[in-house]
């Protein structure tokens, strides 16, 4: 399956990537996507994630065509 992975803010700078497409034949979760993209670097506990623009957690399952995002703690207003 084909999915889109995005990184925001300081995490984008840390990872060195803004957006990428990955292909996989495995069943995937957010945590597995992080590991695949970040070369097995442990997922930092403060990192937040979203699947299709809704908050998710490391165990959230990912499906064909999904958009996955990783980002640091948020602060608006």
């Amino acid at each position: 399956m084909s999915i889109i992975v995005k990184f925001f803010a300081s995490l984008r700078e840390h990872v060195g990537k803004s957006e990428l497409h990955i292909e996989s034949t495995d069943a995937l979760t957010c945590a597995k996507i992080w590991a695949q993209v970040c070369h097995e670097e442990p997922l930092p506990s403060h990192v937040l994630m979203a699947v299709n623009q809704e908050y998710a957690d490391p165990n959230t399952r990912v499906h064909e065509g999904d958009e996955i995002a990783f980002f640091p703690p948020v602060t608006g207003g």
């Binding site: 948020v74 608006g76 207003g77």
Partner: protein, 139 residues
């Protein structure tokens, strides 16, 4: 129920006035209370030159809209308005406007406070400060 992100300077009082004239005309005489909050970029002395507000296009709007729906369900709210700056911001400029219209003051206040608190802690925005000696993400 309106959510707007803008990369341009906006004038909060003009925008509330226009919203009441354009969108709330049919509710005139129905709402007895409006609570608003306006957040402005402070001037922290010499240290911060500009602020850059990054967001997640699509998700940020959806998140703010879902907060508005939660507020409307939880309190007796007639309408809400959220306007938030994105991109580069200078000291003294408005960052955010939140407003809640209701028949009575308690729901107006509580919904407005709920919206700004959830916006601050849960909406996908990130702040990058440009200082005299470099760039820093605000956490």
């Amino acid at each position: 129920m309106k959510v707007e992100l803008t990369s341009h300077i906006f004038h909060p009082w003009t925008r509330i006035h226009a919203f009441e004239e354009d969108e709330l005309r049919a509710l005139k005489g129905k709402y007895g209370a409006v609570s608003t909050f306006v957040g402005t970029m402070r001037n922290e002395g010499d240290t911060v030159d500009t602020l850059f507000l990054e967001h997640y296009p699509g998700m940020t709007e959806k998140t703010l809209y879902s907060f508005s729906e939660t507020a409307a369900q939880r309190w007796n709210i007639l309408d809400t308005l959220i306007i938030h700056r994105v991109g580069e911001i200078q000291a003294g400029e408005t960052i955010v406007l939140v407003a809640a219209w209701a028949a009575h003051r308690a729901p107006a206040f509580e919904a407005c406070r709920f919206l700004i608190e959830t916006l601050k802690s849960q909406a996908p925005f990130w702040k990058r400060e440009t200082l005299k000696d470099g760039v820093r993400w605000v956490h």
